[in-house]
Amino acid sequence: MNSLILRTATRLLVSLVLLFSIFVTLRGHNEPGGGFIGGLIAASAFALYSIAFGVEALRRAFRFDPRAVAGFGVLVAIISGLLSLPAEAPFLTGLWLTFELVPGEKFALSTPLLFDLGVYLTVIGGVIAIMLALEEEGL
């Protein structure tokens, strides 16, 4: 689509939406949100980009093969499950590491977070792969 308004707005929106997707993913740990919805939001940013600048531009901007990103996401999710192996707990058991970087402010790293990031990447990769395939089929 050749529209100056769309292209200008897209430049601004894509970065904003991507940032928002990360926010939603991280927030999802204790509140509504999470990797899946975050991944969809990020994918919609890429979809907007491909509408404004074309599929080829998206392919260049994304750099990686989307299927590889999806595979990486699944791998991250599996690793988050495997981390409970050394902890003598069943597969996928949630484990937490809590730091106190600033006094009074708890900062937690956990395997569910890692799992969520895996889901996030899988969804982005999967949706973009589908999108590229559909657009290339020449609708």
Partner: protein
């Protein structure tokens, strides 16, 4: 070995192929890495599955509460005799097909992710065999299906696109109906854990609601396992993709549906199972006959095998339909044998087509002189499948027919015999057309197949033949799997009672 170790062995047949598939996708532009990773995953899965099987056989069912959420709240993985047996054979067959595929699948399909998809499919099938949660079973169905559809469409030839469309449409409807049944069952019982549901159904009065839910399950799972009258999608799809894909579909994917049917009827609906057993008996009888008759008229080798496969599903369901411990054991033995043998058969079909240049029986002939070894292999496979002594099909069928007669269902015994005869005639005719009759005079005569390319097929055939020549351990395994399947209270105690 600590209990924790065995819990991880229990998860391995799901985790390893999934990891192999993930690495395969990650390295999608480097086919070599994808191949190596998936091969390692195949070997690892087989080792884990053998360990798991040995442990389950020695000391009973294993349970893992994933992420330490106890049953019935979390997702439980359970390996009882039946699950462990199926996982082990699926892993063996998976490795065989993997080795075969590494020699035969063409570059185009490798680049589009044949190996990762294949492993996703194996992970899905193993997940379905091992899960103890009825909704999780739906998820694994879908994983299997998505990977399967991806494999089915890989070559993108016109017949494949057509077959994929039909396969997708009917299977989507089937899984959606399964989901409807699961949702209704959840609404009626308030649980998704299979052991928990069966315990709750004990106190539930018989009602139309439960009957309807059960029939929805039977309908969707019969569709998935290609039973009469919903089998048409199978011969319409299995003859189009590459041989490795047909083989793994025939060996593993159809068994997932049949396994789920056994599990749902015998375990989940154990207090109400009489409601459906008669229906399943007739479904099984008609499946047997329609598979045999269908096989007789096919002119395409893989379509012929597809109908023989449908007949085989009939035998497995017959074990359920007769509904005694005896018949279930026979059905399970048949299923185990069928996994190995059907895969081998489709791989053999690929070898035959490789030397004949076509899957069409009309264009084949005269291969006996040049491909004597292949002819012998094919002949042995026919003997094993159609139930001639002393190979595997015979023992399973004899057991089933004995159980049918003991239960007084003459019809079932008759259908089993007739179907076996029809399949034998169809396959015998195919053998005669491929190998025996005079071939078309062609200038390019491919050399005899060398052993390396045949090795995976031969290994699987040896496994199938060994199951027939030395059937005692397998008969014992199947009988014990059937007994464990019927021991619903024991299963409930294992799953809900926490760790053993």
């Amino acid at each position: 070995m600590t209990p924790m170790f065995w819990q991880w062995v229990l998860a391995a047949p799901i985790v390893l192929p999934l990891a192999g598939g993930a690495i395969g996708f990650l390295a999608i532009r480097r086919v070599g890495i994808a191949q190596a990773a998936t091969l390692l995953a195949s070997i690892g899965t087989l080792l884990a599955a053998i360990l798991l099987f040995g442990e389950v056989r020695q000391s009973g069912a294993l349970v893992m509460q994933a992420s330490r959420w106890d049953a019935p709240f979390g997702i439980t993985l359970v390996a009882d005799g039946l699950s462990a047996l199926l996982v082990m054979l699926a892993a063996a067959v998976g490795l065989g097909v993997q080795l075969h595929a590494m020699r035969t699948v063409d570059q185009e399909e490798r680049r589009f992710g044949f190996f990762p998809l294949f492993h996703l499919l194996l992970a899905g099938a193993n997940g379905a065999f091992l899960t103890g949660d009825i909704f999780n079973l739906y998820v694994w169905f879908e994983v299997t299906l998505i990977a399967g559809v991806g494999l089915l469409a890989l070559g993108q030839s016109k017949p494949q696109v057509d077959a994929t469309l039909k396969y997708v449409a009917i299977n989507l409807v089937g899984t959606t109906i399964y989901l409807i049944a699961t949702g209704l069952l959840y609404g009626a019982t308030g649980s998704l854990n299979m052991a928990d549901i069966s315990a709750r159904l004990l106190t539930e009065p018989d009602s139309g609601t439960l009957g309807a839910i059960g029939l929805l399950f039977v309908f969707s799972l019969a569709l998935k396992s290609a039973a009469f009258p919903l089998f048409f999608w199978l011969p319409a799809a299995y003859h189009t993709p590459s041989v490795a894909v047909s083989a793994v579909f025939a060996g593993i994917v159809t068994k997932v549906g049949a396994y789920a049917l056994l599990r749902v009827v015998v375990l989940v609906f154990s207090p109400k199972a009489e409601m459906f057993v008669d229906v399943i008996l007739w479904i099984a009888i008609l499946t047997l006959l329609v598979g045999g008759i269908g096989a007789l008229v096919q002119r395409d080798l893989r379509r012929l095998l597809s109908y023989a496969l449908v007949a085989g599903i009939g035998y497995i369901l017959l074990g359920l339909g007769i509904g005694t411990a005896e018949s279930l054991g026979g059905g399970i033995f048949y299923a185990a044998h069928h996994i190995v043998l059907m895969t081998t058969f489709f791989l053999l079909a690929g070898h035959v087509a490789g030397v004949a240049g076509s899957f069409s029986l009309d264009r084949m002939g005269g291969l006996l002189d040049r491909q004597t070894f292949l002819a012998i292999l094919f002949f042995v496979a026919i003997v094993a499948l159609s139930g001639l002594p002393p190979l595997g099909g015979f023992w399973a069928k004899a057991w089933l027919i004995k159980a049918a007669l003991a239960a007084g269902s003459w019809f079932a015994a008759g259908a089993a015999l007739v179907s076996g005869l029809l399949v034998l005639i169809a396959l015998g005719q195919a053998w005669a057309m491929i190998f025996w009759r005079k071939g078309p005079a062609s200038s390019d005569t491919p050399a005899a197949l060398r052993l390396p390319s045949l090795a995976p097929t031969v290994a699987l055939l040896i496994l199938a033949v060994a199951m027939g020549l030395h059937p005692e351990p397998w008969l014992d395994i199947s009988a014990r799997a059937a007994a464990a399947l019927l021991d619903v209270e024991g299963y409930q105690a294992t799953v809900l009672g926490g760790r053993r």
